[in-house]
Amino acid sequence: MDHLLNAAAPVAAVLQAMLYAAAAPLLVGWIRKVKARLQNRRGPSVLQPYRDLRKLLAKEVRVAHTASPLFRAAPYIVFAATWLAAATVPLLAVNLPTAALADIIVLVGLLALARFFLALAGMDVGTAFGGMGASREMLVSALAEPAMLMAVFTLAMTAHSTNLAGVIDFQLSNEFALRPSFMFALGGLVLVALAETGRIPVDNPATHLELTMIHEAMLLEYSGRHLALMEWAAQIKLLLYGTLIANVFFPWGIAQSFAAGALGMGIAAVAAKLLLLGAALAIGETVLAKMRLFRAPAFLNLALLLALLGLLSHVILEVGA
C-alpha cells in the first residue's frame, strides 16, 4: 500500500488537476442547459463552452494601444493561480500530496492573487468600464473574504485543522453527527460562492449591460486566447467552489485510497453531487433577480452573519467537539 501510495499519489494529483481543467466547462454547460430548459428554451449543447474556448483560442489577439505588458501577462497568472488553487481541493481522493502543498488559507490566498491581477488587468487599458468593474469586484471580494474564512474556520476549529484533507478525514473518520455549526457554515459558504463566482443575484455572467456588470466589465478589452484563459479560469473557479461545498460538507463517496475502484467511485460520487448543485444553482438563478450593487453588502453581511453564527454555535453548543 505504502509503495503504491508513493507511486500513485503524484499521478493521482496530476490527474485530478487535469480533471479540474477538463471538467470545468462541462459544469458551466450543464448549468446553462438546465437554465435554458427552465426557461422553456432548448438551449445550446452541454459542450458549448468547449467550442467557445476552442474558437477563442484560434482567434487573433487584439490589444489596445494603451495597454501595458501587465495586460498581456495577467491572463496567464490568473489562470495559473486559479488552477493551482483548484488542484489543492480534493476532488476524487483525499490524502493527495497536494494536501501538503497548501491548506485552505493558501487556497483563499491564491484566489486573491488571481483576483488581484484580474482587477489590475481591468484597470490597465484605462477605460471607464474596466475601472468600474475592478472597483466593484474589490468591494464584493472584500466583503466576501471574511465570511468565507469564518465559514472555513468553523470547519477548521471543529477538525483542528485548516487542511481540507484534514477536515474531510475528520468528517469521514468520526461517525456522522448533526452539527448546527456546519449548517450555518454551509449557508454562509454558499452565499460567498455565489458572490465570488459572479452569479446571480450579485452579478450576472450573461449580461453585457454596461452599468450592471462586474466580472465581465473587467474582461471587456480581452480577446482571443487571453479571453479564453480568463473565461476558463472563471469556469475552474466555479467548479472549485462547487467541489468545496460538495466534498467538504458531504464528503461521502470520496476515495480514500488510490485503488482504481475507489477512484471510479469517487468520480461517480462527485459528479452526482456537482450535477445536483449545478441544477440547484440554475434554479436559483432563474427564480432570483440580480440585485443592485449597494444591496450586495447586505447580502454578504448575511453570509458573514451565518458564518459567525456557525462559529459561535460551535463554541457554545459543541464545546469539546
Binding site: 502543498l101 491548506d103 471607464a128 473574504e145 483542528h160 462559529l311
Partner: protein, 670 residues
C-alpha cells in the same frame, strides 16, 4: 567570541552612522559630500548592523557591555541578544537599501534652499538613535536613545519647512512623541521603583503587584502605541511620514515603527514579568481597530505617501494583533500557539519593514521623476518607468498578502495561531479570537483593494497630467535600492521555514519555549503539528505557479495564431477613451466608502466650477480629532486664558498677592 564580534560589529555600525552625520556637517560648503560620503557611510552602517544583528540572531546567547558614558552610578549598558539582533537586522537591511537609494535621491535637493547639513546630519543621528534603542540594556540609555530618535526624525520631518502644513505636522509629531516618551519613562519608573535601579536586569528581577504591573503595562502601551501609531494615537503618523523626504519616510515607516514594537516586546514580554490575559484582550482589540481603521483610511486617500502612511497604521495593527494573541495564549499557559503568534508578529514586522520600505522608495522615485504625490494626477507610469513599476508591483503584491510573497506568510501564521483558539478554557476567548481573525481577513481583502487602486491608478491606464506624462526612469542607484528590498520580499516569502527557524531563537531566549522541531526542520513546507493539519509549502507553490504559466505560454504560443494586433480600446464601442474618462482613485474607492461612510467625516458635494463645469468635492475627516485631541487643546487654552489674569499689571495687586501669601502661610504654620 563570535558574539562579541557581533557586538563590536553593531557598535561599529553606530559609530558609522554617527560618522555619516558628522561628515554631512561639511555639506554647507560642498553639497556633494552628502552624496559621496555621508550616504555611503550610512549604507555601510546598515550593512554592519545587518551582519551583526544576523550573527547575534543565529547564534543564541546574549552578550552585554558597558560604555564609559552616562551617570556616574548608572553607566550606559548595552546588550545584544536574539531579539535586539533581529531588530538590528531589520534596521540594517532597510537602511542599507536606503543607503543605496539615497545618493541619487538627495541629489535633487542640492539645488534647493533646504539645508543639506540638517538632512544628512539628522539622518545619521536618526539611524544611530534607533540602533542604540535596540541595544540599550538600561532605562536611561534607552530613553536617551529613544528621544534622540524622536528628535532627529522630527528635524527630518521639518526638513522642507517652507510649507506650513509640514511645520504643523512636525509640531504635532514632536508633541506626541514627547507625550509618548514621558509615558514610557514613567513606565520604566514604575519598574525601577520596584526593582532597584534602572538596569534591565534589576527590572527583570523585580516582582510587581498585579495592579502596579498593569499600570506599568498601560503606560508602556500608551507610550509605545503612540510611537507605533495605533488608533486612536495615530494622528501624527499620516501627517509626519508623508512630508519627510521619501527615503526618510521609508526609514520612519519601515523601521522606526518597528523600534516601537521592539520597545513594547522588550517591556511587556521581557521586563514586566507575569503576563495577564486582560492585557492580551486590550492589545488585541486595539490592534483590530488600528488594522481596520488604518486600511479604510488608506483606501480613502489620494495622496500616495499619506496612503502609505495610513497603511502603516494598518500593518502595525496586524503586528499588535499577533502580539495580543501571543499575550492571550502565553498568559493562559498555552505556549505553542503563543509562540506561534509571537513569531507571526515578528515575521510581519520584518515583512512590513521590507515592503513598506520598498513602497516608500517607489513613491520617492515617482516624486523624483514627476514631482507628483497626488494619485489623481498619475497614470500610465508603468510604461514610463518600467523598473520602478515592476518593483512597486512586487511591493503591492507583498503588502496585499498574496502568495507566494512574504506578506502572506506572516498573515498565514497569524491565522494559524488564531485558529488555536479552541484550546482556550474560557468560551468567551474562544469566540472572541476568531472574530479578531475575521477582522484580519476583512483587513486583508481591503488592503488588496487599496493596492489595486494604487497600482491601477498610478502605474496603469494613461497619464492624467502633463508632468506625469513626461516622467522619466530614475537613475540606477534608486532602482537598485528598491530591487534589494523587492528581492528580499520574494525571498522571505519563498523560504518561510528558514526564517521561522531563525526567529524561533527569540522566543526560546525570551519566553524559554519555542516551536517544536516539526515546524522548522522540514525545509519544503511549514507544517504545524501534524502534516495534514496545516501546511503551506511556499517553494512548491512558487515553482508550480511559474511552471504552469510557462507551460500555458508554451502551449498557446505553439497554436495557430500568435500574432497580436494593436488597436483602439473597444470600451463597449464608445469613443476611444481619453485620460479624463478613466476611473479616478476617488471613484475607485467610492463603493467601499459608501459602505463604511459612517466611520469617517465624509462630506461630498458637487460644486459649480468657474468655467461653467461642475466639480465633485470630497473631504475625508478623521473622527478621532474631534473625540480625543481638540478637547484637550481647548482645555489648555481656556486654562491659560484664566491663569494669565495673575499678571494684571497693577503693582498694588502684586503686593496684595505677596501680603496674602504671607498671611496664609503664617496662618498655616501656626
Amino acid at each position: 567570541m563570535i558574539m562579541s564580534a557581533a557586538l563590536s560589529l553593531v557598535l561599529l555600525a553606530v559609530v558609522l552612522a554617527l560618522a555619516s552625520s558628522a561628515a554631512s556637517l561639511f555639506a554647507a560648503r560642498t553639497p556633494t559630500v552628502i552624496r559621496l560620503l555621508a550616504m555611503p557611510l550610512f549604507c555601510l552602517a546598515g550593512m554592519a548592523a545587518l551582519a551583526g544583528g544576523l550573527s547575534a540572531l543565529l547564534n543564541g546567547d546574549a552578550i552585554t557591555a558597558t560604555l564609559p558614558l552616562g551617570l556616574p552610578w548608572l553607566p550606559w549598558r548595552v546588550q545584544l541578544d536574539a531579539l535586539s539582533g533581529f531588530f538590528l537586522a531589520i534596521i540594517g537591511v532597510v537602511s542599507f537599501a536606503v543607503g543605496i537609494y539615497g545618493p541619487a535621491y538627495v541629489r535633487g535637493f542640492e539645488k534647493g534652499r533646504d539645508s543639506l547639513v540638517a538632512l544628512g546630519g539628522f539622518s545619521g543621528l536618526f539611524l544611530a538613535g534607533m540602533m542604540t534603542v535596540v541595544l540599550a540594556a538600561d532605562a536611561f540609555l534607552f530613553m536617551v536613545a529613544w528621544e534622540v530618535m524622536s528628535l532627529s526624525s522630527y528635524f527630518l520631518v521639518a526638513f522642507q519647512h517652507d510649507n506650513a502644513a509640514n511645520r504643523r505636522a512636525a509640531f504635532l509629531y514632536l508633541l506626541m512623541a514627547h507625550v509618548g516618551g514621558l509615558a514610557i519613562l514613567l513606565g520604566y519608573g514604575v519598574l525601577a521603583s520596584f526593582g532597584d535601579g534602572f538596569a534591565f536586569d534589576a527590572m527583570r528581577a523585580a516582582t510587581l503587584s498585579p495592579a502596579w504591573a498593569s499600570v506599568a503595562f498601560a503606560l508602556a502601551f500608551l507610550g509605545f502605541g503612540m510611537k507605533a501609531g495605533l488608533v486612536p494615537l495615530h494622528a501624527w503618523l499620516p501627517e509626519a511620514h508623508p512630508v519627510a523626504p521619501s527615503h526618510i519616510s521609508a526609514l520612519m515607516s519601515g523601521v522606526m515603527l518597528k523600534v516601537a514594537v521592539y520597545g513594547f516586546i522588550r517591556f511587556v514580554f521581557d521586563l514586566v514579568g507575569e503576563l495577564q490575559w486582560q492585557w492580551g484582550v486590550a492589545v488585541l482589540a486595539i490592534g483590530c481597530i488600528s488594522a481596520l481603521f488604518g486600511v479604510l483610511a488608506a483606501l480613502m486617500q489620494r495622496d500616495l505617501k499619506r496612503l502609505l502612511a495610513y497603511s502603516s497604521v494598518e500593518n502595525l495593527g496586524i503586528i499588535f494583533i499577533g502580539l495580543g494573541l501571543a499575550l492571550l495564549f502565553l498568559s493562559t499557559g498555552h505556549s505553542l500557539p503563543g509562540v506561534l503568534a509571537f513569531i507571526a508578529a515578528l515575521y510581519h514586522a520584518l515583512n512590513h519593514a521590507l515592503f513598506k520600505g520598498l513602497l516608500f522608495l517607489g513613491a520617492g522615485a515617482i516624486l523624483h521623476s514627476s514631482h507628483e504625490r497626488d494619485l489623481e494626477q498619475m497614470g500610465g507610469l508603468l510604461r514610463r518607468m518600467p523598473w520602478t513599476g515592476f518593483l512597486f508591483l512586487v511591493g503591492c503584491i507583498s503588502i496585499a498578502a498574496l502568495p507566494p510573497f512574504n506578506g502572506f506568510v506572516s498573515e498565514w501564521l497569524t491565522f494559524q495561531s488564531a485558529l488555536r483558539a479552541w484550546q482556550f478554557d474560557s468560551g468567551v476567548l474562544r469566540s472572541l479570537v476568531p472574530i479578531a481573525s475575521a477582522v484580519l481577513a476583512l483587513t486583508g481583502a481591503l488592503v488588496a483593494a487599496t493596492f489595486v487602486k494604487v497600482y491601477g491608478v498610478a502605474f496603469l491606464g494613461q497619464a492624467r497630467s502633463r508632468h506625469v506624462r513626461h516622467a522619466r526612469a530614475v537613475p540606477f542607484g534608486m532602482r537598485a535600492g528598491q530591487a534589494v528590498l523587492a528581492a528580499l520580499c520574494l525571498l522571505m516569502g519563498v523560504i518561510p521555514t528558514g526564517v521561522i527557524g531563525a526567529l524561533n531563537a527569540i522566543p526560546e531566549q525570551l519566553l524559554h519555549s519555542g516551536l517544536p522541531q516539526a515546524v522548522s526542520h522540514n525545509w519544503l513546507s511549514v507544517n504545524l503539528a501534524a502534516s495534514n493539519s496545516a501546511s503551506y509549502s511556499a517553494p512548491l507553490v512558487a515553482v508550480l505557479l511559474a511552471l504552469i504559466v510557462a507551460a500555458v505560454v508554451w502551449v498557446l504560443h505553439r497554436g495557430p495564431v500568435r500574432r497580436v494586433r494593436r488597436c483602439d480600446a473597444w470600451d463597449c464601442g464608445f469613443a476611444p477613451p481619453g485620460n479624463r474618462m478613466q476611473y479616478t482613485a476617488t471613484a475607485f474607492a467610492q463603493p467601499i466608502r459608501r459602505v463604511f461612510a459612517h466611520l469617517f467625516l465624509v462630506d461630498e458635494a458637487v460644486v459649480p466650477r468657474n468655467d461653467g463645469g461642475q466639480r465633485y468635492q470630497l473631504t475625508i475627516g478623521d473622527r478621532t480629532w474631534g473625540i480625543f485631541y481638540l478637547p484637550v487643546a481647548r482645555w489648555v487654552e481656556a486654562a491659560s486664558r484664566r491663569v494669565v489674569r495673575l499678571q494684571s499689571g497693577n503693582v498694588r495687586l502684586y503686593l496684595g498677592w505677596t501680603l496674602l501669601t504671607l498671611l496664609v502661610l503664617l496662618w498655616i504654620i501656626s
